[in-house]
């Protein structure tokens, strides 16, 4: 098989794995205010853990570009929030705040997949021997991202299938970006810390500005704090081992 096609297929496989993150929500029948809070807490922990890993990875390429990228990521969320806030948006069954949060979540996770796609391409460009291992690692790492998206969308009225679909959609930039990154490793590598930083900044800010305040508003703080902390640590361990 042509190596470019192979890179694309590997990227596609990792994108499909994101859909698996919706599976736990097959077992969540009732959607109460507490379920929203706990789902937010889990999504927050996953995204904070992922961002810690991203910042560490980005800083290996360059700490300042990573931080500069993060600042852009924060700005991006602030602007997207404003734009979405000005319109009375509807998304699926939800309107207003719920719709805004779902759209923000999909936007954040999709944008963040661009830099992941570049990372896939660059690492595959380093030599095809490890390609399968890297692909499997990224695929597993995508599942919690799908879980984070589903945790925000499912309590706001999206079907489980819809959650899986949007999760996969959010990862489609991976195969799309992996190919040019694979072909232009040397050209794109300097841009990588900016992209990684952007993704981390956008995710941390999304957690701080949308997910946590709502979680604290809807449930007692101790269980929310426990879930955020444990999922954060779990995510860090997962990333470290894969």
């Amino acid at each position: 098989m042509h190596p470019v096609l192979l890179v694309f297929l590997y990227g596609l496989a990792t994108a499909l794995a994101t859909g698996l993150g919706a599976i736990p929500f097959l077992f969540v029948r009732t959607v109460s205010s507490t379920v929203v809070a706990y789902s937010n807490a889990i999504a927050a922990g996953l995204m904070l853990g992922a961002s810690f890993g991203l910042v560490a990875q980005g800083s290996a390429y360059g700490a300042l570009p990573t931080l500069a990228g993060s600042a852009l990521g924060v700005l991006f969320i602030l602007i997207t929030q404003r734009v979405l806030g000005e319109h009375d948006i509807a998304f699926g069954k939800a309107r207003g705040a719920g719709a805004r949060q779902m759209l923000l979540m999909i936007t954040v996770m999709t944008v963040h997949s661009f830099s992941e796609g570049v990372a896939v391409g660059v690492s595959l460009g380093g030599g095809a021997t490890l390609a399968l291992v890297i692909t499997a690692a990224i695929a597993v790492h995508n599942i919690p991202e799908g879980l984070a998206i589903s945790a925000v969308m499912r309590p706001r009225g999206t079907s489980v299938l819809g959650c899986a679909g949007w999760s996969i959609f959010s990862s489609l930039p991976q195969p799309i970006m992996a190919v040019p990154a694979f072909l232009l490793v040397e050209t794109l590598r300097p841009a990588l810390p900016y992209g990684i930083g952007f993704a981390a900044g956008a995710m941390v800010f999304m957690v701080l500005v949308e997910l946590l305040p709502e979680a604290f508003g809807r449930a007692r703080r101790a269980p929310v704090a426990l879930m955020v902390s444990f999922t954060l640590i779990g995510m860090v361990l997962l990333q470290r081992y894969l």
Binding site: F52, A56, A63, L208, A222, Y241
Partner: protein, 244 residues
């Protein structure tokens, strides 16, 4: 200088600067609630940055699983002390209608909070003295807004500004103590390093989530708090990488 003296010196400095947190109350009787929210978010962001720095330091060691187990212990330690003191749902920033019991609880929660940070300083000193000094200075700066919040509560209860500053420093004495104990134990038994690193990461994250952020969102609104927190966190991360 003997390394233990370095730990003593810098952790005492961190505890001492907490007195500055009471300074605003020399000029005004009450601080606007929004400012208290800012102070909480500043402290929260710096603690998250410190947790990140400790996490990365632990990863260089490669004992990730033990660090993870330590983190679980750190989270559980803070959760269980809250549960034992029945302070899990305590509003830590009440300025009005507080009884004697409340003052006691808030000071105790503050002292335990500082104890966990003392472990963080000690663990960082075990990684390397420069990293430990960086951590002590970060915790020192973060102690100021924390002391401001405590002083706001104390002065609202009629405590004099001078005494509020003194009490703020007193709640940080546990930081000095735990920093030295952690450093001494870690020096004698190097295998505990990943455990204490993990412990401090877990405890710091849980403290931010359970004590600092929930209050601050009510006080200053989510956009302000998110911005202050992420900027404070970014500063610590940037300085850590600049030093490393």
């Amino acid at each position: 200088m003997d390394p233990t003296l370095t730990v003593l010196l810098y952790s005492s400095l961190a505890a001492g600067v907490a007195a500055f947190g009471a300074l605003p109350f020399l000029f005004q009787q009450r601080l606007p609630t929004v400012r208290i929210g800012w102070a909480n978010a500043l402290a929260a962001g710096m603690m998250l940055g410190a947790a990140y720095a400790l996490l990365v330091a632990g990863m260089r060691d490669g004992a990730v699983l033990r660090e993870g187990a330590g983190a679980v212990l750190g989270i559980l330690f803070v959760y269980l002390t809250h549960a034992a003191l029945q302070t899990e749902d305590l509003d830590l920033n009440r300025l009005e209608q507080t009884g004697p019991e409340y003052g006691y609880q808030v000071t105790l929660v503050n002292a335990l909070h500082s104890a966990a940070e003392g472990v963080a300083i000690g663990a960082a000193m075990l990684v390397s003295l420069p990293f430990g000094i960086f951590m002590a200075l970060a915790i020192a700066v973060h102690n100021i807004p924390e002391a401001t919040v405590l002083s706001a509560i104390l002065t609202a209860r009629g405590v004099r500004v001078r005494d509020a500053g003194g009490l703020a420093v007193a709640t940080k004495v546990s930081q000095v103590l735990l920093a030295i104990v952690t450093f001494a134990v870690g020096g004698a038994a190097p295998t505990v390093l990943p455990w204490v690193l993990g412990f401090s990461v877990g405890a710091l994250i849980y403290l931010v989530m359970a004590e600092l952020l929930p209050e601050s969102y009510r006080q200053a609104g989510s956009t302000t708090i998110a911005l202050v927190t992420i900027v404070a966190m970014g500063m610590v991360v940037l300085l850590e990488h600049a030093g490393a």
